[in-house]
């Protein structure tokens, strides 16, 4: 699973083991103080510096070492594992005031102050430092200004009003000024190999190809972490990882839906399921003539049976829910009353005839290594054949696929499967549809829609903003710019000797490891 840095709020319904008919014994058990948990990682970390994390493994490990400023969980500001005590904005959303908790310490014992926050924000917006997610420090192309009011108070001034800014801010993790000050290229600095963080665990040891170990930080500001150490063990082969979970060499691991039954059958684990925040979709490449015709796009939607598609590709109804909006159900202003294109082959054929297409032949692009996408593609191919559309499959390896979709002039595919994870702040979803956005893979060009996205991002929350995002969802649905397929779930398999993972998984890929414990 690739890392998706999510901005925004999520109503992560942590549908726990109970809904899947599994034992709840771990929840009632008493947590023990001490011990180690071994969590499987699928690769070596690339860069553990939180501002430069680009891969999933590093992100997972980094969260044990660094505390965020705050998180946004279930639509609410969440401060428990954050450095901030409060974050408030003025009425027109041009000034954000951050108040740090008292007595915060870096892992080397130095105090964490407002100066560290200022240093971090300045690094983010410094073009020479080349921070991958520098966009979080910019509003409308202009950098925000950060200043320390006193030791524990920081004021961020935005160039213009932006309701989406807090979503980005929650993604930024503070780095220590006393370590990185004056370093020319922080991203490639040797200092990153010996990270000094602010989180519940501190760096102990890294053995390339073997393990990354962190130990409890006793001066952590939150509740004392239960475990003495967390060992991230690097296991690339998923079959081996499943076996190791059964043998007890690994205690916890993210699993895919294909692994679910195998892992569950061992009887040694509890499986915690959670909303992955991911929207799986099919896009239409409007560089091609047939795809520009709304009737063709609608015909394709009518030709498919979404429930059938989801249960075929995602193996079980419990692993994913059919999606009808481009937003996730947790996103603010999600509309659950959109017109559904229920399977109707006759209507599909009629629409195709009206558009003047018969014997249409289309190419479907997807990632070759993604089993779910492959199943989706096979289903779509056979279902569209029923209405006389021939689909040619076009699987590509991940990096070639990304290059292909980023190519704004590509015409060698008509349909494409993809997914995105953008969080609970609706403005962020503009990324996939705004005509000037790099991630507008369908090459949609709708000036009215662009104007709606702009408007939604610049007005404060309220009825007006709600109506804008409802209109956006309707426009996209009526024009069938994107065909949403499913909201998929994620699964964390945890050895029955351990507990607390319902609280460890804050949402999607955000973890608070201090909550994991060994059962007494």
């Amino acid at each position: 699973m690739k890392k998706k840095l999510i901005a925004g709020i999520l109503t992560a319904a942590l549908a726990v083991t109970a809904t899947l008919g599994l034992g709840m014994s771990s929840m009632a058990a008493e947590p023990a103080q001490g011990g180690n948990i071994t969590i499987a990682a699928t690769a070596d970390p690339m860069n553990i510096n939180p501002l430069y994390v680009v891969d999933q493994t590093s992100f997972d490990m980094m969260q044990a070492l660094y505390a965020p400023f705050f998180e946004i969980v279930k639509g609410e500001m969440y401060y428990e594992n954050g450095l901030c005590e409060s974050v408030t904005a003025n009425e027109d959303f041009t000034e954000v005031t951050m108040k740090l908790k008292d007595n915060l310490k870096w892992h080397d014992g130095e105090p964490i102050t407002a100066e560290d926050v200022v240093f971090t924000m300045n690094t983010v917006v410094d073009p020479d430092q080349n921070v991958p997610y520098q966009a979080y420090g910019f509003v409308d192309g202009e950098a925000v200004k950060t200043e320390a009011i006193d030791d524990l108070t920081v004021l961020i001034t935005l160039p213009t009003s932006s309701a989406g800014f807090l979503g980005g801010l929650s993604q930024i993790y503070c780095i220590p000024q006393h370590i990185y000050e004056g370093v020319e290229n922080i991203g490639e600095s040797e200092l990153n190999n010996d990270p000094i963080g602010s989180g519940p665990y501190r760096f102990k040891e890294y053995r390339p190809g073997e393990s990354f170990i962190v130990e409890r930080f006793d001066e952590y500001f939150g509740s004392t972490p239960y475990l003495d150490t967390i060992t991230f063990k690097i296991v690339k082969d998923s079959n081996t990882a499943n076996a190791s979970l059964a043998s007890g060499d690994i205690n916890a691991r993210l699993i895919s839906s294909e692994d679910y039954d195998i892992v569950n059958a061992t009887g040694k684990v509890n499986i915690v399921s959670y909303d992955s925040g991911r929207v799986n979709v099919m896009g239409f490449n409007q560089n091609n003539e047939a795809m520009q015709d709304v009737r063709v796009r609608q015909a394709i939607a009518y030709a498919l049976n979404k429930e059938e598609l989801v249960s075929f590709a995602y193996l079980s109804d419990e692993f994913a829910d059919p999606a009808y909006s481009i937003l996730t159900p947790d996103t603010m202003y999600y509309d659950d009353s959109l017109t559904q294109y229920n399977n109707d082959p006759a209507k599909a054929q009629q629409l195709l005839a009206e558009a003047g297409y018969s014997n249409l032949s289309l190419t479907l692009l997807y990632t070759s290594t993604n089993k779910t996408m492959e199943s989706e593609a096979i289903y779509i191919q056979s279902k569209l054949a029923e209405v006389g559309i021939t689909v040619e499959l076009y699987p590509l390896d991940e990096s070639t696929y990304k290059n292909k979709t980023k190519d704004k002039t590509a015409t060698d595919y008509d349909l494409m499967l993809s997914f995105y994870t953008l969080g609970a702040e609706p403005s962020l979803y503009g990324d996939i549809l705004k005509s000037d956005s790099a991630s507008n893979y369908g090459n949609v060009n709708d000036a009215e829609l662009d104007a709606l996205w702009e408007k939604g991002n610049s007005i404060p929350n309220g009825e007006e903003r709600e109506s804008v995002y409802k209109e956006i969802q309707q426009t996209v649905n009526d024009n069938m710019y994107i065909y949403p397929i499913a909201y998929s779930k994620g699964f964390y398999a945890v050895d029955k000797a351990y507990g607390g993972f319902e609280d460890v998984i804050l949402q999607t890929i955000y973890y608070d490891y201090s909550k994991a414990y060994k059962i007494q």
């Binding site: 840095l5 690339m46 991958p132 390339p208 393990s211 060992t231 076996a243 043998s247 990096s399 991630s439």
Partner: protein, 316 residues
Amino acid sequence: MKRILNRLAQSVLIMFLVSILCFALTKAAPGDPVMTYVEPNMSEEYIEQLREDLGLNKPLVEQYGIWLKNILQGNFGNSLMNKRPVLTQILERLPATILLMGSSLVLSVILAIPIGLYTGKHKNKFWDKITSMLSFVGISIPTFWFGILLIYLLSVTLGWLPSIGMRTDGVNSFWDLIRHLIMPCAVLTFQNVAQYTRYIRSSTITELSSDYVTVQRAYGMSEMGILFRHVLKNAILPMITVLGMSLQSVVSGAIITEQVFAWPGTGQLAVTAVTTFDYPLIMGITMFTALLIVIGNLLADICYSIVDPRIRIAKN
């Protein structure tokens, strides 16, 4: 001596050609190192800057020229992904790989010689047939499947051995290392022995039917004496070539076996390098492997001329 120098010159040329070929192939493969970690919310400018920083915008010939110049100065470059020096990464993986591959190689030879001699001597007898069958199983069994099978049997079901890695974290004993080594080493050894046995068996059969053996028999020498004092020496000659070819594996590792047992060796590093299109790392590992193949062959040739006078004389 002159021959050896000549061979050395050839080796340098081979290394050069290998580097060009490998570089061209890596670059020709579809895939883009930058795109392996780009996410939708990264800006276009950042991606462009990244390409520039990594030198990926330069013409291919220039990229190769820079790489060659660095390598001649002993600089293997830095990995595109984690920015760490390629040489450091290879060197830190070497002990694990040498331990695994070395121990399985030694064990394989020790096992294969007596088995090969015995089965060659008792051609088509009961134990020969059993060994042949096992050899074919060993040669054709997929490593990943056999490995997983062992893990399920010895780790999951019986709980005797650890399933993954090279050591238990926090434990630093030799016995712990051996316990981790047993399964991956067994998988590799089984495969090697299966192959080596076939070589030794067939050369034993050939030697046993040659004239000098008949003469020895006529002189009344014991069968054991013939086998160990005369046949053995000749029968293991092909092993020199086989071992020369295997020398590189001691460094390049066993890709699948290391992957299955999460063994932290160079094989796993190679997989990572290839899947992320990390060309400095791919080049580094390939050059290391190529170098050892060349050295292995050279050593095999030299060994031949030492142990087999026929070759020495033929050349002179």
